[in-house]
Symmetry: C2
Subunit: 192 residues, 2 copies
DNA sequence: TAAACAACCTAACGTTCGTTAGCAAATTTT
DNA sequence: AAAATTTGCTAACGAACGTTAGGTTGTTTA
């Protein structure tokens, strides 16, 4: 399945790798151009600004995460099953796009307004999905945690470290990682 | 307990806040000077370079984390007790220095060599402490996890998110946070 | 009281930055 | 074959960057 990327997509992909490795601010347009084998000014035939690249990566990934958890959610299922599904979906997006995920997770603060504010709104809505599952689990006694906000942040941060070490050819594949993490984090919610 | 900071310490503290908020690369010496109410050039009466500030913060925090877990470790205790103690110590350092912790966790990649390499060595040695506790717990059947490296990274990343939301006057104090996190993460290791 | 030091200043250095203007060649579309 | 689009170039802009040189002032030490 060879996919031919448009020049704009190539730029975005190369930029993503650099933003991840050195950070948005420490990556210059000349660095990016050098990596692409062209001049810095040439990039502006395809994009409007350096920040536009960051915007596209951040909001594309936000979309991916939303679509993934929406697709697998079944409001009729138990809280455990719903949370397990959401965790698995989240891990799948993370492992399928490690570089873009890293940018999504750590470089969004370099977005200017109104994108910065919009991003934070989206992120909170995403976390809300997890909060509501956990709240439902608490109310019927399935989970025992002092605070659902606290639990969600711990779970998500436990997941969001994956991009730093995940390698597609490592000893665990994405499904195994997702399963192990889900078991481990779900068990943590069922305190005795 | 009023503590008078030397000018150098004031610079370091102010820089830490800026590095945390905007990142190391996006913080200029003129920003820092402006925050201090002086000219950028004046800062160089007290420090050698911008990176020196980052180095001091990163390695000071590395020391704090090491001292904290060394002080509470009892190799004779059970793996659960040891891990609980380490988690509590780690959380205490994090909550007592949220800004410096954020810099320590996310800005170290802007260190130049040989500091960059030295930092990674220290970090790995720190994680090794946790790995060994968990390995001990696995070998006597106290913990059931597929991979201790995996478990350590999940635990530490679950803890290292604290700095983003912890407020000293929030509804949970540092001890409660540490206790809740320890319970939640320890339970996750004792899979049935 | 003289010497040493701490703290800050103005001015400027050489470099790098994101970006624009204007143009040329190749490719695709009509 | 003409027109439009894509992709790239050189040259340069104004601004911002980390840092140095050299000097001034006030405070502390000998």
């Amino acid at each position: 399945m060879e996919v031919t990327l448009s020049r704009k997509e190539q730029i975005e992909k190369t930029a993503t790798a650099l933003f991840r490795k050195r950070g948005f601010s420490a990556t210059s347009m000349r660095d990016l151009a050098n990596e692409l084998g062209i001049e810095a000014a040439s990039i502006y035939s395809h994009i409007r600004s350096k920040e536009e690249i960051l915007q596209r990566v951040c909001f594309r990934m936000a979309n991916e995460f939303f679509e993934a958890i929406d697709k697998v959610d079944d409001p009729e299922a138990t809280a455990s099953a719903r949370l397990q599904a959401a965790i698995t979906a989240h891990v799948q997006v993370l492992t399928k796009n490690t570089e873009a995920s890293a940018v999504f997770l750590y470089e969004w603060r370099h977005l200017s307004e109104p994108y910065h504010a919009e991003f934070l709104t989206l992120r909170d809505r995403y976390e809300k999905h997890f909060r509501e599952i956990i709240k439902a689990g608490i109310s019927i006694g399935e989970f025992k945690v002092p605070d659902e906000k606290f639990a969600v942040l711990t779970i998500l941060s436990g997941l969001n470290w994956i991009h730093t070490w995940y390698k597609p050819d490592g000893k665990m594949n994405a499904e195994e990682i997702a399963a192990n993490l889900a078991t481990m984090l779900l068990n943590g919610l069922k305190q005795t």
